[in-house]
Amino acid sequence: MTGKEIYKIWAPTEAKWVDWVRPVPFVGINESFEGYEVDEFLIPKINYIKEPISDMAIIIDLPGNNSIKEGIALAKIGFRPIPIYNGTDEQNGATATVDNRAIKMGLIKGALELKKIEIPDNAPPAFLLDTNRMNRYKMDQSVFDNSWDIYAQDMPSAEYFLKNGINKIMVRGESIQKDLKKILYTFQTKGIQIFWINEYENIKQVRLIKPKEKDF
């Protein structure tokens, strides 16, 4: 399958929320892409949610293709997984801060799974993010920095969420990362409730503190 064909599986034009699927990793799935096996791509069992909650969107923020696997698990119970990965390839031969190839491999394998699942066109969204995006550590200046942030403009606005019946957003991840906090704080000020679930605890509602002005 080409990157374009894989993209179309993740973003069928008739479905809701798919306008936000970022093409960046899909574009990188081309004739020069050399994938590698990361793992067996086993889809996990979700125990924190049994079925879609019509007024709740989920943001899966897990390392590498774990976010894709969990996105597929959520698709099986009726969510629409929306990949919003935005990391680019490193220059050939250079050491990079983030390995984005795992995401591409995950999107290819995820597409094969997704093809088998029927998701309603109006299913609530589960946005997929790679926690590794913020790996900024550089041993020295010669390293290629392809870390990236998620920005407010990469997601629907709070107004759009509310207009489309979403007034709760749950983050699934080890923590709510700095870039996401900025976006979610704004959502919170506009009446969207924020929830968080990690590996070990129950879902809890969180009250985000206003980020510093310079961070906006």
Binding site: G3, V27, Q91, Q153
Partner: protein
């Protein structure tokens, strides 16, 4: 000029094709689709007029920057960041024949039936693929043989071929964390690679300078560099620590653009025109097209002026009240009050909107490129609001035969 709709049944495929075949990796901005459902068609007469005006503006701009470079005292009213100002004297060795000069002038049709120019993108204009591949894809989807377009990418690469040694190493300097920067560089990199150049995608601090020549220190890609194509804006470059960027200002490695671009990049450029004209520089085309521009203090209590940041990009922080979102207008005005030298006041022009075949009204910003003084194609955006910013949609520009 007119808006011609992409057939509805072909639009979705057109949008996806642009992402995958035309480097349009940012098709969505918040809730806005950034790929227009129309093409912008200009008449041959309009094209010829824009071509002439662009080349005249370009000649005036390059003469102005040459004089400013030779007489830095004249540049003081530009209020450039101190870090940049300190480096400017290094540019005395600037030789335009060694570097590639690229600019984009933003034209707007007005209700008076004239053109207004809002600014020149002098330092790092973008929109490369949108002005090179997108028009052909629009022609194909419209199945219309009576339109043509000027391929910006071909013109720029031809200029590069003339000044960079064959099969040389070209470093495409950009913010490597931003995919929307990379899409611009990737288009150019792929094109130059096909022409036999060795391409390195790198960040600004991956270059070091020795005897005024550039060297790459990027892991696995170390060595001498034959050309620099920079997409990192100068005002961002100077914030990089530790400081290795001063070499960009006096390098003899062919650059596009060389930091000479900063004189016209600041939106305060018109504030030195009176002095430049006294020195014999002709700026009549600029005077004809750019709305009156003054210091912030001279526009107080005048309702027909807007405020623009000197170092603004993609329409951000421009105080067009009806186009501002939420409390953006209040924040801009507070900033203008606090830092008046970082802004300028410009008389508001009356943008003429175009009506689409579906009856929707759009304002147009028609960017007209110059490469080495010659007109080099178009990059346009349309918006329902009079401010053309990141919410605007990219639109193909086609010319009637």
């Amino acid at each position: 000029m007119k808006l011609v709709s992409i057939p509805k049944d072909k639009y979705d495929e057109y949008r996806i094709d642009l992402m995958f075949d035309a480097y349009k990796w940012d098709p969505q901005f918040f809730d806005s689709n950034t790929i227009a459902k129309q093409a912008l068609v200009i008449t041959d007469e309009e094209h010829k007029e824009l071509e002439r005006l662009t080349e005249q503006l370009d000649e005036e701009t390059r003469k102005a920057e040459d004089l400013l470079n030779k007489n830095l005292k004249l540049a003081k009213p530009l209020a450039l960041p101190k870090k940049i100002y300190k480096e400017l004297k290094k540019m005395k060795n600037y030789d335009p024949d060694k570097h590639i000069r690229l600019m984009r002038y933003d034209f707007h049709p007005t209700i008076e039936g004239k053109w207004a120019v809002s600014e020149v993108n002098s330092d790092v204009p973008g929109g490369f693929a949108e002005s090179s591949i997108m028009p052909q894809m629009a022609i194909d989807v419209l199945n219309e043989k009576s339109y043509w377009y000027k391929n910006f990418g071909d013109i720029l690469t031809n200029a590069i071929i003339k000044k960079v040694k064959a099969k040389g190493t070209i470093v495409l300097v950009h913010c490597t964390s931003y995919s929307d920067d990379r899409q611009v560089m990737q288009f150019l990199g792929d094109k130059l690679k096909q022409l036999g150049f060795r391409i390195i995608y790198a960040a600004a601090d991956h270059l070091r300078f020795k005897n005024q020549e550039a060297f790459s220190i990027l892991d696995g890609n170390e060595g001498k560099v034959d050309a620099i194509i920079r997409f990192t804006p100068l005002e961002w470059l100077i914030d990089i620590k530790p400081k290795h960027w001063e070499g960009y200002f006096d390098t003899i490695t062919p650059s596009c653009n060389h930091p000479i671009a900063i004189f016209a990049q600041t939106k305060r450029f018109p504030l030195v025109w009176d002095q430049l004209e006294k020195q014999g520089i002709r700026l009549s085309t600029w005077r004809q097209l750019l709305p009156e521009t003054v210091e912030v203090k001279n526009a107080k209590h005048k309702n027909d002026y807007i405020f623009k940041p000197a170092c603004g990009r993609v329409g951000e922080k421009i105080s067009i009240k009806e186009a501002c979102k939420e409390d953006e207008y209040r924040k801009i005005m507070a900033d203008v009050k606090k830092y008046p030298k970082k802004y300028l006041a410009q008389k508001k022009f009356n943008s003429k909107s175009l009506i689409s075949e579906e009856g929707e009204s759009f304002h147009v910003c028609l960017g007209s490129y110059s490469v080495e003084g010659k007109h080099a194609g178009y990059y346009a955006r349309i918006s329902k609001l009079p401010r053309i910013d990141s919410y605007a949609a990219d639109i193909s520009v086609l010319i009637e035969k």
